[in-house]
């Protein structure tokens, strides 16, 4: 039952001593737990937001658009942030699509919206070739793909937020953003399918055919509808609905090995100034910009942990005064000064450990509660997976820091027990 020896009694003594002072101990543990939960939460959000962005382009080898910056192209073409400065001509698109190395392409035509959601014109290739997450294909929650000129497929968030279902008639708005006022009211679309959630910007998108985009703009010129030259929806069906230009397109290759060759060929294309980027590379550039903010967040969360540990240190140091008698008793029954030192370090370690474990639990509770909101609002999925190596490392660092912090009161008690002998000088 009871073990003698140098370290034998330490863990149980430390535990009982902490339990005895559980009021202040609990506060200290709670402080550490909250700070640890914040630290891990920031880390996990950073990782998951990156994963979420990367999952949006998981199956795409190249993103191609008019020449601008790689990050800019990626943002407007894939993440629907900002607008394109220039389009790519349909002919240039066809030239790339017909390159022998190219397996598939997904043309993207942006510029219209529906009640705040982006409208994306594309072809059936989108449903066939687009991959997200872990190379998952798109799936339909209800209905099916766009078949008619005036068909629309909506993302899961669009369906939920606007309470739309298959069969609903919708009217597209010319342009995007708050300023967009002019409606394509003469050519309404019908929702024919609702996509399953993907955790990508597709969830916030209304997908129509390229011919649909062409049809609603057939009587438009330079951003306004030409008066007196209106073409109604039925007439438009019979017009040539081949687009003159598109915003960008995604490219999938037969072999990843060819990606640099194809990229160079597109960038050197002499008919039109185009830019082809590897989504991974562009994402890296994006992260190097966004990374500063993430680093700042991480630094703040580390400081919060430091504050938590300082709170623990303050509590331990305060208790030290009341505990001089206890130290003298331990010395009297044979404890070495090193044992007194060890006892206090062990207590600090236990506080750190309890705080870390509780912090981890808090993180998972918070994630379980917040994940629907994160998915809906930010499109970031928070899987309740086991802690990653980095997270274990952070927990280890917290534990180590609490042990180190415990060395200060331990050192003071050690010095005192050497100087005081068995007398308690208060």
């Amino acid at each position: 039952m009871m073990r003698a020896g140098f370290w034998g009694p330490l863990p149980s003594l430390a535990l009982r001593s902490l339990w005895h002072r559980r009021g202040s101990v609990l506060l200290t543990v709670a402080t550490i737990a909250l700070s640890v939960a914040l630290l891990l939460g920031v880390e996990r959000l950073a990782v998951e937001s990156r994963r979420s962005f990367a999952s949006t382009v998981s199956g795409t080898d190249l993103v191609v658009g008019a020449r601008s910056g790689p990050v800019n192209l990626l943002l407007y073409a894939v993440f629907h942030v900002g607008d394109a400065t220039n389009n790519v001509s349909w002919q240039s698109y066809l030239d790339v699509a017909h390159m022998p190395e190219v397996e598939w392409t997904i043309p993207i035509s942006l510029g219209d919206s529906h009640r705040g959601f982006r409208v994306m014109g594309t072809t059936p290739d989108f449903y066939a070739h687009y991959r997200y997450g872990d190379h998952q294909p798109l799936g339909f929650a209800s209905g099916g793909a766009v078949a008619d000129v005036y068909d629309a497929v909506i993302g899961s968030n669009v369906a939920v937020k606007l309470d739309y279902a298959v069969g609903r008639k919708i009217v597209l708005t010319h342009g995007t953003g708050v300023g967009a006022q002019m409606q394509h009211a003469d050519k309404p679309f019908r929702v024919v399918g609702v996509l399953q959630p993907t955790g990508t910007p597709i969830d916030d998108t209304v997908v129509v055919g390229l011919d649909g985009i062409e049809a609603i703009h057939i009587d438009w010129h330079a951003g306004i509808r030409l008066p007196g030259a209106e073409v109604d929806a039925e007439q438009a069906r019979h017009a040539d609905l081949t687009p003159k230009s598109i915003t960008a397109f995604l490219v999938g290759l037969h072999s990843r090995m060819a990606v640099f060759g194809v990229q160079r060929a597109i960038n050197d294309y002499d008919q039109e100034a185009m830019l082809a980027v590897l989504p991974g590379v562009a994402l890296q550039q994006l992260w190097s910009i966004v990374g500063v903010a993430q680093q700042a967040l991480r630094a703040i969360s580390v400081m919060v942990v430091a504050v938590g540990l300082c709170g623990m240190l303050a509590a331990l140091l305060t208790m030290l005064g009341e505990r001089r008698r206890e130290m003298a008793i331990l010395r009297a029954v044979g404890a070495r000064p090193a044992t007194v030192f060890g006892l206090l370090v062990a207590e600090a370690g236990m506080l750190g450990l309890a705080g870390s474990v509780l912090g981890l639990a808090l993180l998972y509770i918070a994630m379980a509660l917040a994940r629907p909101a994160f998915d809906r609002i930010a499109g970031i999925r928070l899987p309740l997976t086991a802690p990653t190596a980095t997270e274990w490392l952070l927990l280890g660092a917290v534990l180590l820091a609490s042990l180190l912090a415990g060395c200060l009161p331990a050192w003071i008690a050690y010095r005192r027990s050497l100087a005081d002998g068995l007398q308690v000088r208060l």
């Binding site: 003698a4 009694p9 001593s17 206890e326 008793i329 331990l330 009297a332 404890a335 070495r336």
Partner: protein
Amino acid sequence: MSLSQATVQALDAPVIRSSGLTHTWRGGRSLRFPAIELAAGETLFVHGPSGSGKSTLLGMLAGVLVPDQGSLNVLGVSLSDARQAERDRLRADHVGYIFQQFNLLPYLDVAANVALACRFSAPRLATATTHGSLDAEVNRLLEALALAPGELRERRAGELSVGQQQRVAAARALIGGPRLLIADEPTSALDSDTRAAFIELMLAECTRHRTSVVFVSHDLSLASHFDRMLRIAA
């Protein structure tokens, strides 16, 4: 490093032999102590005015403080030369210590407080468990000191009277049959009735194990309980 049993002298050798001990506290107050020679099983009453350095002497005997000068030999170990780990080991294995008051750890119950001395020393645990379990030995000691184990074992120190606390402290100091018991005015917080009873119970248990006793008090009326008396001048 732990001190092997063999280095501790045989049972009949003197338990304490010291001469010319001095100790200087920070601040420069210097204390000088008379020579002491204490045989196994012998009990010594030490008295002197406050400030005479009684507690300092006990600290040196317990191996917690180091004398500046003089020789101090406890159980054959020269404490003026021994390294700190050796002195701590000697105390853990062979010395019981009772404070004036507040002897018990507030977060342990009575039984765990008594057993505490065995948790820092394997030899003491071995001695305490010669005839049975540690629990049984704790109960036996509590009974010997007129404490009802059934009633008190699981109580905390704060729930006991001062007299009970001091007897629990004596039980802890005596568990595992130490060779030397050091008591620093253990009765000063007790009233005169319980004082004599405490000393008698304590000394009876010491006789049983042939434990030598160094007992400090400024109450000269207690001196008659002890074999010899030593006076320390201010």
